[in-house]
């Protein structure tokens, strides 16, 4: 449904995208996972025909992003990272506006947006600028869907959104997937990778890996050991001072340790920490998560 071949893009001397190639299948929920500045927005803006690539080519449902840009705009729904609806129009007016621009009506495609729009419909006379963050997000998604696109492109829809609203948003995306919409979504939250069918890890304009999230973590070659004690700050310091320490970082209540080689045993660390007088020590080997993989490949 989305085919990207060796796309590069420069902003003066900075290379935003470095020969990116990627395929997204029909009906897939595909995640672009990477931090600020990785190139996620640039890639999305090329795909939705708002930006020209310097080299390479890309097709959306078989249509070329340069030659067929007008046709693509009819089959793609886009939700930018920054809230971009008309703040001084009401909820209903915004939706009506986008429907009209695409030559359709709210009634015609109401089915598609019902679940989402239903939640903000009680406030349909309110100006968009006066909505809460979560409501703005729902309105933006409704507007991106009102012309019944084949492909939905969402640029960091959950950044700065609280954990509850984030969870609800992903539930909405799953429902849209059932309606045969292909979804390309970007996020800096590594934990959201697990909610996608496949993900691309992207950093500094390059793709580090593409696979289903489970595969990405399964094939990670290094051993991860996690440790806990009563004093997390001292624990991090002490583990970093361990002679075979490669990387030591906090992960929630634990600290994840990777050795310079994979022969460091949990029992060695356990003994080391006891010698350093740590209390309530727990050391064990674990399966890596997406965040471990991402950090390991940086």
């Amino acid at each position: 449904m989305i085919a990207i071949k060796e796309i590069s893009k420069f902003y003066s001397e900075t290379q935003a995208l470095n020969k990116i190639s990627l395929h997204v299948n029909e009906g897939e929920l595909f995640g672009l996972i990477g931090p600020d500045g990785a190139g996620k927005t640039t890639l999305m803006r090329i795909l939705i025909t708002l930006l020209l690539p310097d080299s390479g080519e890309a097709k959306m449902d078989g249509l070329d992003v340069v030659k067929n840009f007008k046709k693509i705009r009819h089959i793609v729904g886009y939700m930018p990272g920054r809230f971009s609806l008309y703040q001084d129009l009401s909820v209903e007016e915004n939706l009506h506006f986008f429907a009209t621009v695409f030559g359709t009506t709210i009634d015609e495609n109401y089915d598609l947006i019902r679940d989402i729009y239903h939640q903000i419909e009680p406030f349909k006379k309110r100006r968009a600028g006066q909505l809460s963050g979560g409501m703005k997000q729902k309105l933006a998604l409704s507007c991106a869907l009102i012309h019944k696109p084949k492909i939905l492109v969402l640029d960091e829809p959950t950044t700065g959104v609280d954990a509850v609203s984030r969870k609800e948003f992903w539930e909405m995306l799953k429902k849209l997937q059932d309606k045969e919409i292909t979804i390309l979504v970007s996020t800096p939250y590594m934990d959201e990778a697990n909610l996608c069918d496949r993900v691309a890890l992207i950093q500094k304009g390059k793709i580090l890996d593409v696979d289903p999230p489970q595969r990405i973590t399964e094939k990670y070659p290094h051993r991860i050991i996690r440790a806990r004690s009563d004093e997390i700050y001292r624990l991090i310091q002490d583990l970093r001072a361990f002679d075979k320490a490669e990387s030591v970082f906090a992960f929630g209540e634990f600290v994840h340790f990777t050795g310079t080689d994979d022969n460091v045993e949990p029992s060695q660390l356990d003994a080391y920490l006891h010698k350093k007088n740590h209390k309530n020590v727990l050391v064990e080997e674990i399966n890596p998560g997406i965040e471990d993989v991402f950090m390991g490949s940086m």
Partner: protein
């Protein structure tokens, strides 16, 4: 012996008929990392603005760093630091100019400033970046520098309002290394975040919902109380009520 650095008793803040902070009572101890969590719109920013002397409560007794929030707001401002994701540094000033500007505002002598700036830039490995404009820096650098500027005048408390959004996982953790270091030096850290793994790094966490504090304890005790695997689950249970 735990010393309270922030004391809040029956804090109420109303905007017209809307109650943003509904009778909050809590203490923050000196040198702790205090996580202040809640969904968007729960009332966190309102509380932070009051604690930093930028807004007055409708009622309640509050003391921050030994000063009263009604009558001694200027003294409070001298004793706290503040950093947010949205605004912290001047984009069209250089690194050195930003530091000089903040040092000037807090009345730090030029001699002391020069010494400290040298140390700081060395620590951040930014000695070659001192004359670069903030606008051109990577987000991770900006965040580290913004934090360093917020604690440059050695405040008793530093307020961090969603400091880590958008950065890569390594940068985010390096930022937390700085937070731990500050706490270890005795600075009290009051932090809001949407990353629930970061909630685990706090000594104690409060969770707000619709203007009220629904829970306040150490992450371990909260997980036990709500029978949850991690703080994410605790948060969902409380904020979805």
């Amino acid at each position: 012996m735990k010393e309270e650095i922030i004391k809040v008793k029956n804090l109420v803040k109303k905007f017209g008929s809307f109650t943003a902070n509904d009778n909050l009572t809590f203490d923050v101890y000196k040198g702790e990392v205090f996580g202040f969590l809640g969904a968007n719109g729960a009332g966190k920013t309102t509380t932070i603005r009051i604690l930093s002397g930028l807004s007055s409560p409708s009622s309640g007794e509050l003391n921050v760093a030994g000063f009263d929030v009604y009558t001694e707001t200027e003294k409070i401002k001298k004793n706290i630091g503040y950093m947010s994701q949205k605004f912290s540094l001047y984009e069209d000033l250089t690194v050195a100019e930003n530091i000089r500007f903040y040092a000037g505002i807090y009345g730090i002598s030029p001699k002391h400033r020069k010494e400290k700036m040298g140390e700081l830039l060395k620590k951040l490995e930014m000695e070659n970046g001192r004359n670069k404009l903030i606008a051109g820096l990577p987000l991770g650098w900006k965040q580290k520098l913004a934090f360093s500027v917020a604690v440059f005048h050695e405040p008793k408390i530093v307020f961090l309002d969603e400091p880590t959004g958008g950065v890569d996982p390594v940068t985010r953790r390096k930022f937390w290394d700085m937070i731990y270091e500050a706490a270890n030096d005795g600075i009290t850290v009051f932090v809001t975040t949407h990353y629930m793994d970061e909630a685990e790094y706090c000594d104690r966490v409060s969770i707000m919902n619709e203007g009220k504090i629904e829970a306040l304890d150490t992450p371990a005790k909260l997980k036990e109380k709500y029978n949850a695997r991690d703080m994410d689950e605790v948060f969902l249970k409380i904020a979805r009520k």
